[in-house]
């Protein structure tokens, strides 16, 4: 390989090992200097090496570092003046010389005269400056010698330099997760609270393992819920994956909701084992919570019912042949007289029941006394219609016999 500044001549960050294949000049009894500018961030020289292309005499040699002044070596800044080797090839000397970055220096080698001959590799071009002085017994301070022999020449002398480590930083905080955007997501254990989107969609904190999740926005399946695939409790005030207005637990947690439902029928429904509490509505359109709608083992309580969209308890839920009892004014107000048989309707069925006056009965209620029904509702309404001219909607109690 050729002699190259920064590779096998001058300042290097990696020590060369190959033969630079330069032109040999006599080094024994002479001093040789080569110029180079230290790299940016240079801190110190840890080793000086020179390529002894010939000779095996163990004569003493010196290495040194000179300052530069207008292209000429001047002041000897450092010197290591007692070294010897019988080897040729790359000859190295460990040093610890602090230097300045981006500064021109001259690297120097001198070898005492000896029998036989020793040479050092050089190149006549491609360098930053080269000079040699004969009949030298040491590396002088100052160097002396006047103008250099070759302003673009170089010698196979290197300085292994250690750089300061330096850099710049621009730390940018990110909000997105690996899957997408804008969420903190945990695949492990712990509580997750987030107000923004997750991998599946928009606006949810999603918990893939066990733990409590709180969120006020949508989940992967739809809108407005936090959803747990584990065993944590889920609290939400809005809709779930199946529909509208419910929190639903897929695991064993206890769902709580104050609104609506699954199946569009006004109830909260538990798919697990938790207890379901609801203050509204019912199942199957009949004002009752049916056992079939409790899939798990939880208790279901309902305090009200609505039926078929007509505000009445359907006849199918009223068994027996009971009668209708109301105050005289209620009976009269409906255009009836005692003994008439107004017709109650519900669920598409009609049933005639005798109406009886009960003194002091609270208006305007008309309790329907059933034979053996077990449906109780505190505010159920009934559409009752007389055979002749009843058309007013009245309220009634339905009670078991």
């Amino acid at each position: 390989m050729a002699l190259t500044l920064g590779v096998n001549s001058g300042f290097v960050t990696t020590a060369p090992s190959a033969d630079p294949a330069g032109t040999g000049v006599t080094i024994d009894g002479s001093s040789v200097v080569t110029k180079h500018t230290s790299p940016a961030n240079a801190a110190k020289i840890t080793s000086i090496g020179w390529y002894r292309e010939s000779g095996t005499n163990g004569a003493n040699f010196e290495v040194a570092l000179y300052s530069d002044l207008a292209g000429v070596p001047v002041t000897r800044l450092f010197v290591d003046n007692t070294n010897s080797t019988t080897s040729n090839g790359w000859v190295t000397v460990a040093v610890d010389w602090a230097i300045s970055a981006s500064t021109a220096y001259w690297l120097a080698v001198q070898m005492d005269a000896h029998s036989g001959s020793s040479g050092i590799d050089t190149a006549a071009s491609g360098g930053a400056g080269y000079d040699a002085q004969t009949s030298q017994t040491t590396l002088n301070d100052p160097y002396g010698g006047g103008l250099v022999a070759d302003a673009d020449g170089m010698a196979a002398i290197y300085a292994l330099v250690q750089l300061n480590v330096t850099g710049t930083g621009a730390v940018i905080a990110q909000s997105a997760d690996a899957a997408g955007s804008g969420v903190s997501k945990s695949s492990g254990s712990g509580n997750v609270v987030a107000g923004s989107a997750d991998a599946a969609g928009a606006g949810v904190a999603q918990w893939l393992a066990a733990g409590a999740v709180s969120a006020q926005a949508a989940d992967a399946a739809g809108v407005g819920i936090s959803k747990s695939s584990g065993s944590g409790n889920v609290i939400a005030g809005a809709a779930d994956a199946a529909g509208v207005g419910v929190s639903r637990s897929v695991g064993g947690g206890a769902p709580q909701a104050s609104a609506a439902v699954v199946d569009g029928d006004g109830i909260t429904k538990s798919l697990g084992t938790g207890a379901v509490l609801a203050q509204a509505a019912a199942v199957d359109g009949d004002g009752a919570v049916t056992a079939a709608n409790v899939v798990g083992s939880g208790a279901v309580s309902a305090q009200a019912a609505s039926v078929d969209g007509d505000g009445a308890v359907s006849d199918s839920a009223i068994t027996g042949t009971g009668d209708v009892r109301a105050s005289a004014s209620t009976i009269s107000g409906m255009g009836l007289v005692e003994g008439d048989q107004p017709q109650s309707s519900g669920g598409g069925k009609f049933r005639k029941r005798p109406a009886w006056i009960v003194p002091m009965h609270p208006r305007p209620y008309m309790p329907i006394i059933t034979g053996s029904g077990d449906v109780r509702a505190g505010s159920a309404s009934v559409r009752a219609r007389g055979e002749k001219k009843m058309s007013a909607r009245q309220r009634a109690f339905v009670a078991g016999a």
Partner: protein, 125 residues
Amino acid sequence: MSATHPTGVRNSLADLVVDLIDAGAAAGTLEFQTSGSAEVATLTFSDPAFGSASSAVATASAITADSSATGGTITKAVAKDSNGNICFTCTVTATGGGGDIELNSVVVSAAQQVSVTSLTYTAPP
């Protein structure tokens, strides 16, 4: 879509984070570490470490170099207050490697000087 914040909020977020570096009695530190979290070099922030954020970016005041590093191969940097509480952790690579902090070399010899000439912290969008 991801959540975004107006610039004023982002400035507050950035200030919140970088001001944590000043929480201790003394100046905070920027500790370069190996992948195994061994300390390689420790630089010292000014106190306060950062100026007020502008356009969601807080810029560090002068950071004092570690003139004699422990040495090792750096993969990350940890900003701490003087009590050792971590304020943020960021990646470190060689120049061009895409790290939050890029150094001219991540391989540091014992007693080598390590410095950072500029550092900014940008709040989440």
